[in-house]
């Protein structure tokens, strides 16, 4: 693998956005995800390889370290920022179809719940692992999930909740999606939910951390 791709992966892993960014201190003054992605494209490395061996490789490390509590939300957010700056350079290749994404993941915080930090963490990790992400925001009703599923056939759905009082809506929304799109794959996550709850409401997958979801999604399309 090219040295450049390895460097991009490291920028994503450690949250190095661009040369001017002071974070992380040990990479101060070095080029970041922004410059290196541009450079890689200019050198003729394919956008697909940059995504796979640069961004996804870096993001996988982030996901694993986050799951193991070796890093916490701030570090993940910095990695997300680094990823987003790199994504800007790759976007045209997604749009032209030159880079193939693994599938589409539709995510939203369920009706009655306005919390978005967990949802956003999951979003960026899924996107950084090569998925097309459709973020429906917070306080999302069943109809909105269903409409998005009809627009993106075969997409996976992620329901997020922080409040114990909105877990009830997860069940309502899961049932409504099942009725409208019987073969939909529904995943759930959030502080109050667990595997038992997932089984009870008939969702397909619960993961307690974003990496677990990414591994599930990747295995589904492998």
């Amino acid at each position: 693998m090219s040295e450049l791709l390895k460097q991009i992966a490291e920028c994503i892993e450690f949250g190095k956005i661009n040369k001017a960014a002071p974070f992380p201190p040990q990479m101060k003054g070095q080029e970041g995800a922004d410059e290196l992605t541009r450079k890689a494209l200019d050198e003729g490395i394919s956008a697909q390889d940059i995504l796979t061996y640069g961004m996804m490789a870096g993001m996988e490390k982030v996901g694993i370290k986050f799951r193991n509590n070796e890093i916490f939300v701030p570090q993940v957010l910095m990695s997300a920022k680094a990823m987003n700056t790199a994504m800007v350079h790759l976007k045209p290749y997604f749009l032209s179809g030159e880079v193939k994404q693994k599938g589409t993941f539709i995510i939203g915080t369920v009706e009655g719940d306005l919390h978005d930090i967990g949802k956003n963490l999951v979003s960026m990790m899924v996107e950084g692992n090569g998925w097309n992400l459709v973020d429906l925001g917070t306080d999302v009703k069943a109809e909105k999930f269903i409409a998005a599923l009809k627009e993106h056939r075969g997409a996976y759905v992620g329901l997020s909740a922080l409040l114990t009082t909105t877990m009830v809506n997860m069940e309502k929304i899961t049932n409504a999606i099942r009725e409208a799109v019987p073969d939909a794959k529904i995943t759930i996550g959030g502080a109050p939910v667990n595997d038992e709850f997932c089984k009870k409401i008939g969702a397909d997958k619960y993961s307690k951390d974003p990496q677990g979801l990414v591994e599930y999604l990747n295995a589904e399309v492998a």
């Binding site: 930090i117 114990t164 009830v168």
Partner: protein, 300 residues
């Protein structure tokens, strides 16, 4: 009545109250409805909650203002009523408290400074507005709680210190990591909290929310190790919620939580109380545990 911290200096152990959010839902608050709006629209229901904790024997009660910052209220179109809502919240608890203390509750704004969601000035200003509203309504102390980020906590403490005469307390929420350490969502340890927030003038620190009373013992020990002098408050959840027949239930019973109170006090806590899922019955049982412990300390 004096100050809460003066009472603690005399060696008293004090009892705080239990849950507000889960209690409001029991009284009919709908998911998606703004809990703090009830201070204006259904003050008698809120007063009922406050009174039930005083009746249960609490030495202090909180206010229905956890999500009362303009950043939370703006999601319901209520940002411009922030001062009024917080003032009403404190006035309701004041009415119920009589000669007991009122802790004006301030929760996180949901904005992340390092992501550039907001500036420090905007956060400070939002906390200033909330603090002054709570003081105007009669809060004795400001309870900055459920924090996970040190910078946000620091700004809230600064706003409270610089703009009110209230005592200023702060709790953060810690979870146990895979290797058994305690960390907030943003990676802050109880030791970090003490080292960073005690110098800002917070007069009391502690853990709240979390996964139940048992974890609180280890967290309090760590806080006391970092600073043996700082007073400590614990507001514990009644365990992790479980889902049963369309309802979420917090599993720790009043008896179970009360049984752990002596351990939390021996670890160094000065004030104990409940968070999500705790009820007046939990507080009643904890009252018995606290009284028994005080009696032991003073056998005469």
């Amino acid at each position: 009545m004096g100050k809460i911290t003066n009472q603690l200096k005399k060696g008293r152990i004090l009892l705080s109250d239990g849950a507000w959010g889960t209690f409001l839902h029991e009284k009919g608050l709908q998911p998606g409805e703004c809990p703090e709006s009830w201070n204006l629209t259904r003050p008698n229901e809120v007063l009922g909650i406050a009174r039930s904790y005083i009746d249960a024997g609490a030495d202090m009660i909180e206010t229905n203002s956890f999500g009362g910052s303009r950043f939370k209220l703006e999601k319901y179109g209520l940002a411009d009523k922030a001062f009024e809502i917080n003032k009403a919240a404190a006035a309701i608890s004041r009415q119920a408290a009589g000669d007991k203390f009122v802790l004006g509750s301030l929760g996180p704004t949901g904005k992340i400074l390092m992501m550039g969601d907001v500036t420090e000035e905007e956060l400070y200003e939002a906390f200033r507005e909330q603090c002054t509203g709570l003081e105007a309504g009669g809060a004795d102390a400001l309870m900055i709680e459920t924090m996970s980020d040190l910078d946000e906590a620091r700004l809230a403490i600064k706003a409270a210190k610089e703009n009110t005469h209230c005592e200023v307390f702060c709790t953060m929420t810690f979870e146990k990591t895979v290797d058994g350490k305690f960390r907030s969502m943003m990676g802050v340890s109880p030791t970090d909290m003490v080292n960073e927030l005690a110098p800002t003038g917070a007069e009391l620190l502690g853990p709240n929310c979390g996964n139940g009373m048992a974890n609180m013992i280890g967290i309090v020990k760590e806080i006391k190790q970092a600073d043996p002098e700082i007073p400590v408050l614990v507001h514990a959840n009644a365990g992790m919620p479980v889902y049963k027949d369309g309802n979420t239930i917090f599993p720790e019973t009043p008896e179970e939580m009360a049984r752990l109170v002596p351990d939390v006090l021996h670890a160094g806590a000065n004030i104990v109380g409940g968070c999500c899922g705790t009820t007046p019955e939990h507080i009643r049982k904890m009252r018995e545990a606290v009284d028994a412990e005080q009696k032991k300390n003073r056998p005469s």
